[in-house]
Structure formats: C-alpha cells, structure tokens
C-alpha cells in the first residue's frame, strides 16, 4: 500500500476564459506537512477549493485513501475527513464559540440545544488545540488569530484527517504565527495530513516537509523540501531568477513631503507625530494591532481625527474625508482588500480606474473611454496582473491579483504622498520585487512613500527610515543604517512582555 492518503489525479479546472488548473497530478504523504507554492493566479486556491468541494473539477479527480472521489459540496468533503481553512473564515461572528464549533450538529435533547453538553464538548475541543477560550464568548469578539484557532478546532470536531490552509498567516502577528505552527505540527504528530499554501518562503522552509510547485495552473515539481534551496523554489515558481528583490538604492531626500503633528483619534493611545520627506521611503513596523493602520486611516481622512495637523509639502491640508485627501495628493492603498479595496461585481478596468477617472473625465463628467482602456492596460501590464481580459470581474481574480489591481488603482493617480498598508500581503515573490521597484521609482520621482508592513525583512529592505509603533503610539524612529531586526522587534513588543522575556 502506498503511503499517500491524498493524491490529485490529472485534476483540471476551467473557468470561462481561464484554465485555472491543467492536468495537475501529485501525491501528499500521510502525516506530513505539504507546501503548495506558486505565483499569484497559479491555481493554489482553486486546488484547495476543489479539495473542499467548493468547486467541482472539470477533469480528473482526488484520490483519498486509494479511492478516487469528487466532492460536490463541502458536506461531501467533511464526510471524507477533509477540511479547508480559508483566509476569510467561514464562521458566524454573532454566535458563540461553542455554537460555531458544533454548528450543524449541536448536541440536543428533544430538539432543544443542550447547553451544558455543548459547553463541555466545546471546552474539550478547545483544550485539544491548547486554547483557553470561554466557549460562550461571541466569536466576533475574538482576535483574528483566535478565530482561526476556532476554525481549526471546528475542523477537528468534524473528524478531519486532511486539513488544508490557504495563506493562514497573512494577517497574523509573529507570535500568533508561532502558535499556529505549533498547532500544525501537533496535527501532523496526530497523523493528520496538512496542505499549506503561503507566499512566505521562510514559513515554508521552517514548517513543511515536502513541496509542490504550480505554475500557470500546471504542476511543475513535487519534492522533499530538504532537496531544494530557496532560489531553486523561486526559480521553479517564477520561471526566472530573482536578484536582490529589494533593489535598494539610496536617494537624496528632497525636503517637503508629509508632516504629521500631534495626530490623535480612534485606535491611537497618544498623539502621533512624524515627518517623512519627499523622495523618502518611510516604513512603519509594529505588531498587528499596534495602531499603524489606524494612523494611516487618520492621515487619509478615513477615520475622524480628534486633534492634530497634517502638512503636505509644507502646506497644511484639511482632510475630512478620503476625497479631500486625494485632492491634496495623499492616497491610501488599504490593508483589507476584500472589505476596503475591491468592488467585487465590477470589472478589472473599473476597479483600476475607480479613483483616477474623476480627474480624467471630459468636462468633469463624461467617462473618457480611451483613457480608461489605456490606463487599465498599463497597470495590468506594469503589475503583471493575470486576467483573461480587462472586462473580467475582479472577484474572479486570484487573491494576489486583486491586490495588484488595487495597487494599480493608486498608481494611476499623480500623488505627493502614497500610504501603502501591507502592499505585498498575499503577493508572490516575483511580483513583490516588482512592487519594490515601483516604490523606489516613485520615491525617485519625488513622491513620499509610506509603507506599513508586518514583515521585518521587508521593512528593513525597502525603507530609508523606520517608525516602530507599539500599543497605539510611535515608540521610535530609526535610520536604515542603524536598524536591526532584534532592535525593531524589541521596540515593537508591548512593554510587559518585553520585560518578561
């Protein structure tokens, strides 16, 4: 008997105009952690959706325990012991943790939910993954990381033996990532088979045993990770070599830029001040929840400030709404693309032009079709967005490609200050390096570039200066030359924990 509990056999999936998966075959060893990597749009999420029953393949099948099978909905998959944990979690925020865990098979007596039994069972499940959460907490109250844990616990209550993760760490803090890894290793120790999708190379090499690489919907290679170097993985993913991805070149600062003085508002513990020059790339590092996004939203007028001044190129600007901000030359590429970025039911073209088209309209009112086509085409080419056409609805694009379109929206504007909140989240290595190049070029042309990132190497790699935020305030501002990973991390950690460790 082969040791593979899970295999993909010539799996194909075609959407109108897109071949997302083409003849993909590989096997996953039982009780191993198997990485799945590939560029944005390579077909990773599609493969997982086939595994979860959300999509039916247009060709081929899954082989589980030697049996070929095709799932028609998620119930089929659960029955076969398969659970997929997506980035957007499928839980009900208004319900309690316990109810979420047992949704669909709540313990009951004569049709009435047995709350005692429910709480006991829930507590037991949560203990299994080492979480001490009160089962009656409303799920929506939990931070994202814990909600993810609940989702894992839920998969286990259904008796899942094969668990797949689609970019689970992209909005987790470092510490939460460690927790998650412990649990995933635990799953492996208990004999579960884990499929793990991520764009973060370090995670893959730290966590996984084997790897499958996809490119353009085709299977490129499956092998032991120990046999591969990072460069080899990148080369197979992207089909080319990547040089230094940050591509940092020092630029002279040009003065002017963005100055923030005593800005206060929701999410900030105390008023924040900093000044970033035109032509500078100014990084913001901090743990998730340190108030970086809140600060950006305040500068951008997306949240109402209670005090403070914002100056652009030496002139104070009154920003009461994003519209004002854009008019004063400030734009924000938001962190949560699903909620704040994309208009899912509209095309790539419309999503790209959503903001800049106002200024390009004839007489301020009529859409300039020629410009719209040209601009959308230019952004799609510049950022290598994988889309069958400009008319494709953006919701049909892969996650990373959606992110690129939103970035393209803001590159369509002529700006003085660009605020980028986690611009490379969910973006593949190849595209990342292009985005870094674009940032360098923006800075070179005199734009003040502000980058919020939770990835230390990224902040260190691109920024001229780095502000570290901690618990709703700016803890320090460090020059590139003086900054080290340890120092930034130490500055970012909450004081109590810093002392404790």
């Amino acid at each position: 008997m082969s040791s593979a509990t899970l295999a993909f056999d010539r799996v194909a999936k075609e959407f109108p105009g897109v071949k997302a998966l083409d003849d993909v075959s590989f096997a996953v060893n039982a009780g191993s952690i198997h990485a799945l990597m590939g560029e944005n749009g390579a077909g990773k999420s599609t493969l997982l959706k086939i595994l979860s029953g959300a999509y039916t393949p247009t060709g081929g099948s899954l082989v589980i325990g030697g049996q070929p099978c095709v799932f028609h909905d998620t119930a089929d998959a659960l029955a076969a012991g398969v659970a997929v944990i997506y980035q957007e979690l499928h839980l009900v925020p208004e319900m309690s943790v316990a109810e979420n865990l047992f949704l669909g098979h709540l313990p009951q007596r004569l049709g009435i939910v047995d709350r005692r039994a429910l709480a006991a069972a829930a507590r037991k499940q949560l203990e299994l993954i080492g979480e001490a959460i009160d089962p009656w907490t409303k799920l929506g109250r939990l931070p994202l990381a814990q909600r993810q844990m609940v989702e894992i616990a839920k998969a286990l209550t259904r008796g899942a033996r094969i668990i797949a993760f689609d970019e689970p760490t992209s909005s987790l803090s470092d510490r939460e990532v460690r927790r998650l890894f412990t649990i995933i290793r635990d799953l492996r120790a208990r004999g579960c088979t884990v499929l793990y999708v991520s764009h973060r190379m370090e995670e893959i090499f730290e966590l996984c045993d084997r790897i499958t690489i996809l490119r353009d919907g085709r299977h490129v290679e499956t092998s032991e990770l120990a046999n591969l170097t990072r460069d080899a993985v990148v080369q197979r993913m992207v089909g080319r070599k990547l040089a230094d991805i940050y591509n940092y070149t020092p630029r002279p600062g040009a003065g002017g830029g963005l100055a923030v003085e005593g800005l206060a508002g929701p999410g900030l513990a105390e008023p924040c001040s900093f000044a970033a020059e035109a032509g500078e790339i100014f990084g913001f590092f901090g743990l998730v929840g340190a108030g970086r996004s809140e600060l950006m939203r305040l500068i951008y007028g997306a949240a109402a400030k209670t005090a403070g001044r914002v100056t652009v190129a030496g002139r104070e600007v009154a920003v009461a709404s994003p519209r004002d901000a854009i008019q004063s030359g400030i734009v924000l590429c938001p962190e949560d693309r699903k909620k704040e970025g994309i208009v899912p039911v509209r095309s790539v073209l419309e999503n790209t032009n959503l903001s800049a088209r106002r200024r390009k309209a004839r007489g301020g009112m009529l859409i300039d079709e020629t410009w719209e086509q040209a601009n959308a085409r230019e952004r799609v080419d510049q950022l290598r967005v994988r889309t069958p056409s400009l008319q494709q609805l953006i919701r049909n694009l892969s996650g990373g490609n959606q992110q690129k379109v939103i970035l393209g929206r803001w590159l369509s504007e002529t700006v003085k200050v660009i605020l980028l909140d986690e611009p490379t989240r969910g973006i593949d290595v190849g595209a990342k390096s292009e985005i870094y190049t674009i940032m360098q070029n923006l800075a070179k042309s005199g734009v003040c570039v502000i980058v919020v990132s939770s990835e230390l190497p990224e902040v260190l790699g691109v920024s001229d200066r780095i502000a570290v935020m901690r618990q709703g305030k700016i803890a320090a501002i460090v020059n590139r030359a003086d900054a080290t990973e340890e120092q930034l991390l130490k500055l970012a950690l909450p004081l109590e924990t810093a002392r404790a460790s």
Binding site: E14, F15, P16, G17, V18, K19, D216, V238, G239, R240, K241, L242, A243, D244, I245, Y246, N247, Y300, A302, S321, P322, R323, A325, I326, Q327, L332, P334, K339, E340, G341, I342, V343, P344, V345, R346, E350, L354, S355, R357, R358, A361, G364, M365, L366, I367, V380, D381, R384, V385, R386, T387, P388, R409, G430, S433, E434, Y436, T437
Partner: protein, 326 residues
C-alpha cells in the same frame, strides 16, 4: 529591474463559445423577443397599432420611474415610497392648480413635494445610516397619508383643461407620455454608462466602503439618487393626473413593487452594483406584455396576480441558474 528575465503578462486564455457568451449577455432580451413574437402570433389583436400604443402607454409610468429605481438599486438601496409619491404629487398638483389657477405653480408644487420626500429619504439613509427599507416604508405611509389629508380622501378634479395636454396629447401619432418615457430611458441609460456619476453609483452599490476610500462622495450620490427618484415619481404622478384629469389619492398602491419587479426582471441586483438600462427596459416590457396579453385573453384579475408573481420568481431563478452554470 530586479528580474533577470521577463515572462509574458498573461497566457492567451481559451474563450468561451460565442453562443454561450451571447446567451449570457442577451438572456432577458431573448426572453423578451420570444415573448413578443409568441404573443404576436398567438394572441388576437396583440400586434395591432392600437394595442401597441395602449401597451406602451400602460408601461410608460413604470418605465419612467424604473429609470431612477435602477440607480437606487444599483447603489444598493431601495425605495418603497414612490407609489405614495405618485399619488400625493398628483393630488397636490390638482389642489394647487385649482386654488391658484396656475398650472406652473401646480406642477412645481407636485415636483417640489417629490423632491422633498426624496431628499428626506436620501438624508436619512445616507447620513443617519438607517436602512432604506425601513426609511422608505415609513415615508411611504407618511406620504400616502398626506395625499389623503390634502384631498380629504377624495379624487380632486382639475379645472384647467390646458393641463390635460401633458398626458393626452400626441406627437407623430404617439402619445406624449411614451415620448417622455423613451427620453428618460435614453438620458438615464447614458448617465449610467457614460458618466462618472453613473459608474460611481455602481461602485457604491458594489462596495460602499471601498468606494468611500476611493474618494467617491458616497453620501452625496445617495442623496442625489433618492431626490431624483422622488422628483421622477412626482413627475409620473403629474402625468397620471393629467391623463385622468384629476388627482387621485388612492392610486398606485403597490406601484413600488411593480417597478422593483421590473428592475429585478431586468437583472438588477438587489444587493447593488449590477444593472443596465437595456435590461431594465426589457424587464419593464416583459411585465407590460404579459399583463397586456392576459387582458386580451380575458384572464381574470385574480389570476393575473398569481401569474405576475410566478413570472418574477421564474426570472430570478433563471438568473441564478445562469450564474451557477458559470
């Protein structure tokens, strides 16, 4: 550049077959064409000049108001108050004309009342963030009540004959209200497709948070749309009063549902972000043709209600099925 090699931007994708693309695009238009030909062949007197004119006149009201309702739905909202506005504006116009003897003042009063109600709806929905369903459910009753109060619950006959030309005159053999409706289709279709306002409306309906962060003045768009909707409904009410030569406080109960049905039949999404004028016209016409054919076939009114509901449900299911298939 950090890369040492470049790969093509995107591989040439396989295209779906021309037939299936046509079917996807043309769905409701196809249904309309088939329905029309079917009725022309199968129903006596359907395809006659007189009946065609009657049919067009019958849908002209729904047609006009569905133009603004399309915007309202596209922006992710809804307006239930329009039936009441139609009635109230008609009555108010009649009363003002009778009191002042001035047609202009009467029409202005009618339009003004619609604008006021619309602006109120818009303000409450956009600024106070009250759900549009509840807001317009409330104004629907308030405005209906005002109509009764102003008219004392009775039809108000209008004393100035010149006023009747609006609803009862013809141009090139086609009644004026039909011309007006056609003009509305053209103007609002153009606004939706070719202006920043129209595209922004769809973005607001598709994801209002994203639209706001992209610098679109979400609140202003909503208020403008609701106000336009009120004015349009009032205008339809004035045309109706002119046709009937009186303002009737009881008229057009359930009109809002008729208009929303036509829009939904035309593929406008109730959750916002999706809608096109061509399809709304198709929806309006399908509703009108079915009604007209049933009248010609002497189907009793009670059954007509059932038939209309069934058609709406069937259309929505058809749409869902089409989307599933993709």
């Amino acid at each position: 550049m950090a890369t040492t090699d470049t790969s093509p931007v995107s591989a040439a994708p396989p295209r779906p077959s021309a037939a299936s693309r046509f079917f996807d695009k043309a769905g409701m238009l196809l249904v309309l064409a088939i329905l029309f030909i079917g009725c022309a062949v199968g129903v006596d007197n359907f395809f006659s000049w007189v009946n065609m004119k009657g049919l067009a006149l019958a849908v002209s009201m729904t047609g006009m108001v569905s133009c603004t309702m399309l915007f309202c739905l596209a922006a992710g909202d809804f307006d239930l108050s329009i039936g009441s506005v139609v009635a109230c504006a008609g009555v108010l116009t009649a009363v003002v004309i009778n009191h002042t003897g001035s047609i202009t003042l009467g029409v202005l009063a009618g339009l003004g009342s619609g604008a006021l109600v619309g602006a109120l709806n818009g303000y409450v929905v956009a600024r106070l963030r009250i759900n549009a369903l509840i807001t317009t459910l409330a104004t629907m009753q308030i405005v209906r009540g005002f109509g009764f109060i102003v008219s004392d619950g009775k039809a108000v006959g209008i004393g100035r004959e010149a006023f009747f030309t609006l609803g009862n005159s013809s141009l090139l053999g086609i009644p004026t209200p039909i011309w007006i409706t056609v003009a509305c289709f053209a103007v609002f279709g153009f606004i939706l497709n070719r202006t920043v306002f129209g595209r922004d409306t769809l973005a607001v309906g598709g994801n209002s948070e994203a639209a706001h962060l992209a610098g679109i003045a979400v609140d202003r768009i909503k208020i403008v749309i609701f106000t336009a909707q009120g004015v349009m409904a009032a205008f339809a009410g004035i045309v109706l009063a002119s046709r009937f030569t009186s303002g009737q406080p009881n008229t057009n109960q359930g009109f809002e549902l008729e208009v929303i049905s036509a829009c939904v039949l035309g593929g406008v999404s109730l959750t916002g972000g999706i809608g096109s004028m061509a399809f709304v016209i198709a929806g309006v016409l399908i509703m009108g043709i079915v009604q007209n054919a049933m009248n010609l076939l002497n189907v009793p009114t009670f059954y007509q209600y059932v038939a209309r509901g069934v058609i709406l449900l069937a259309a929505v299911l058809f749409d869902r099925w089409k989307r599933r298939k993709q």
